[in-house]
Amino acid sequence: MDKKKKRRIMRGSILALLAVAIVYAIVNSGGVGERNVLKIGDDAPNFSLVDLEGNTRTLSDYRGKGVFLNFWGTWCEPCKKEMPAMTRQYAVYEERGVEILAVNIEQSTFEVENFMRQHNLKFPVAIDTTGDVKYAYSIIHLPATILIDEFGVVTNIITGEMSEQQIAAHMESIKPGATTAQMSQR
């Protein structure tokens, strides 16, 4: 009988191993040949860009604050629409520990500066001239907003236009202490 048991354990473990291999392959196959796709719950990839004022903006320097990371372009209509609302909400949430960093995708300084002036935007903007940060965050469609909490973890990824209400709610959600409060509630 002992032999039978041993055989069953052997067979069971071989089958389990094969099942795990198949499931692993299927779960991961979506990204075959593509870049790693950023997911909610990942650590936000660190990056370093120089903003329009010439200051180096490094994501890790924002640790302890919530970061509202917005990818945009001047040609992108929804980007244009949501940015004034971002400016207004930034005025409210800056003192509550939420920072905006707007990353323009590969445009000229002239276009970006002109756009900022024209729309009277008051948050830091940096240009991703080579598309490096775009790839790090697997950005395909604009606008894209990545919410990063005070621990540097991605809490949400939003593509497409946001209303002012949504922007406020998103900023609220990454206010320092917000994620821990949520956890203790659970």
Binding site: M1, K3, K4, R8, R11, G12, I14, L15, L18, A21, I22, Y24, A25, I26, N28, S29, G30, G31, V32, G33, E34, R35, N36, P45, N46, F47, S48, L49, T58, G73, T74, W75, I105, E106, Q107, S108, T109, F110, E111, E113, N114, A126, D128, T129, T130, G131, D132, V133, K134, Y135, A136
Partner: protein
């Protein structure tokens, strides 16, 4: 465990056809056969032995040859269906428009095909499940048959029971007047491995041929595992990029690397233009060379994404078709190009409309325009607005459809000694609007330069060595099983009778030739092919 006790005293696993020890038939079915079924040496195919727990049932399911064949057929049919229409990856439409594309091009069939998800068949979970199950089937079936077979082959006795010998396809018996030692020596000369016991000789050669099927299964499994490894980050990259002349771009899928396109070159044979007749027949001008001169840069160790301040040159290279740039396992292939799609610079002359006199020319870099272009102290042009891909006005506001200068337009403010207050003018390609009334000056279009864009593919495949090893093992297995045969000869003297039997897993003709040679050297009774009397039964003995 239920055992089967042979008359010789050997305990055999349940389901065994021929005793492991002496070769006596154990099942009624086997006893009725004239010639023994030597597939797997008559050992019990393990799965057929018990059916106790659900684990065993699952195991037995995958061990079945019928199930294996069914899985192969299903895989082939599914893979074939995927070739009915081009897969979504290959169609000239974006992901969002794919559905419409299939319906427009292939009609209702295309619509259904798309709706069923068959346009992305090879990456669907169910297709991968089928291939996975096929892999399980190969592994389980091999273990289930290979292990008992191996045990039987390594435990062969010199002396077998006469009932075993009598049931061999080549068999003879006669009077015992043979020198067994001489027979053994002859067999040794014939490159057989010979073992003797008193009154018995057992000779075999090329036993490894029996393992061919299992070796090629191992190769297949390694191959499948190699394909599966592609999902592990860093093992496999297949990406593409557009590299614009004069620009440095991050390389997708290759973190920390940047590529500068210095120049794209397209050379045609004889500089020949496409004629109307050629166009009609779909013949393009024939290209001699597609080439992109590039510089590959790398960030210093530890630099963050986005930080391009201290890029180091890795190498400069001219990428041509079949001559990819190679670096760190990655390869950059020349795949595509766009000529004259995007403009690089535009040159205008600030001109007095009445006298047509030019006050000077300015050249604007369309990828990086400046705020102000100064001609002299009193004469300058300010750019108020820049629209690289002008698409029209909306509520009086010029719109741009993308960031690429395919149809650039500007809102200029022109200052001249004559008009120190400045005049505003909107200038696009073949379009000038003077929104604030008639101007004295205009920005007259002088010339333009185009950017060539090169389409490159970036590939990394670290699984290739694994696939290669898998394929080589597979071929070794096929060769083992195809070009060699496991031949065995038994000689047994019992009760003054000599029994001669021979078996091979294939190529019986050569086996008989071996026997003839042996018979010539030592006086043996001539073996008879017992199947010759019933030729229609000859099938089925070849498989292993």
């Amino acid at each position: 465990m239920k055992m089967n006790m042979c008359e010789c005293g050997q305990q055999n696993p349940y389901g065994t056809h021929l005793c492991i020890q002496c070769g006596r038939p154990l099942t009624d079915e086997e006893k009725e056969k004239k010639v023994a079924d030597m597939r797997y040496e008559g050992s019990a195919v393990r799965s057929k032995t018990y059916n106790a727990s659900w684990i065993d049932k699952v195991w037995n399911f995958f061990s079945s040859v019928k199930v294996g064949v069914a899985l192969i057929v299903i895989t082939l049919v599914a893979a074939a269906i995927g070739t009915f229409l081009p897969q979504a990856f290959f169609i000239p439409a974006t992901e969002e428009n794919a559905g419409a594309y299939y319906e427009n091009v292939y009609g209702t069939f295309g619509k259904i095909y798309y709706a069923l998800g068959l346009t992305d068949l090879y990456t669907t979970w169910w297709f991968q499940v089928i291939v996975g199950l096929l892999g399980v089937s190969i592994i389980v079936a091999s273990l289930d048959r290979g292990i008992p077979l191996h045990k039987s082959l390594t435990n062969q006795r010199v002396k077998r029971h006469t009932s075993f010998l009598k049931r061999q396809r080549l068999f003879a018996q006669g009077s015992n007047d043979v020198d067994l030692q001489q027979a053994a020596n002859t067999l040794k000369q014939m490159k057989y491995n010979v073992r003797t016991e008193d009154g018995a000789v057992f000779a075999e050669k090329n036993r490894f041929a029996r393992y061919g099927a299992y070796v090629n299964h191992v190769g297949l499994i390694i191959f499948l595992a190699g394909v599966m490894l592609r999902v592990i980050p860093g093992m496999y990259v297949d990406d593409s990029m557009w590299a614009r002349e004069g620009q440095i771009t991050a390389v997708p899928g290759m973190d920390g690397y940047f590529l500068e396109n210095k120049e794209f070159i397209l050379e045609l044979h004889d500089e020949q233009e496409q004629t109307a007749a050629m166009a009609e027949q779909g013949v393009n001008t024939v290209a001699k060379n597609f080439q992109t001169n590039v510089v590959l840069y790398k960030q210093p160790e530890g630099a963050l994404p986005g930080n391009t301040s201290n890029l180091e040159v890795v190498q400069e290279y001219a990428i041509r078709v079949n001559h990819p740039l190679k670096e760190a396992g990655y390869a950059f292939y020349q795949m595509d190009y766009r000529l004259n799609d995007e403009l690089k610079t535009m040159t205008f002359a600030l001109t007095n409309k009445e006298t047509q006199q030019s006050l000077g020319e300015v050249t604007i870099d369309l990828y990086n325009p400046e705020t102000s272009y100064v001609i002299d102290e009193q004469t300058r042009i300010d750019i108020i607005g820049y629209y690289p891909h002008f698409t029209g006005f909306e509520e009086g506001e010029p719109q741009t459809g993308s960031r690429f200068p395919t149809n650039p337009a500007f809102l200029f403010k022109m200052f001249t000694p004559q008009t120190p207050e400045g005049e505003t003018s909107f200038v696009g390609i073949q379009q000038t609007v003077e929104p604030l009334g008639d101007n004295a000056y205009q920005m007259r279009f002088v010339s333009t330069e185009f950017t060539d864009i090169s389409g490159l593919t970036i590939r990394l495949d670290r699984t290739i060595p694994i696939l290669f090893v898998g394929a080589i093992i597979f071929l070794i297995g096929v060769a083992m099983g195809s070009y060699w045969q496991h031949r065995r000869i038994w000689l047994l003297v019992q009760d003054d009778t000599l029994y001669v039997a021979a078996h091979t897993n294939k190529n019986w003709f050569s086996m008989q030739k071996d026997m003839k040679r042996l018979e010539e050297a030592v006086q043996l009774p001539h073996v008879v092919d017992q199947l010759d009397e019933e030729p229609q039964q000859q099938k089925g003995d070849d498989a292993q």
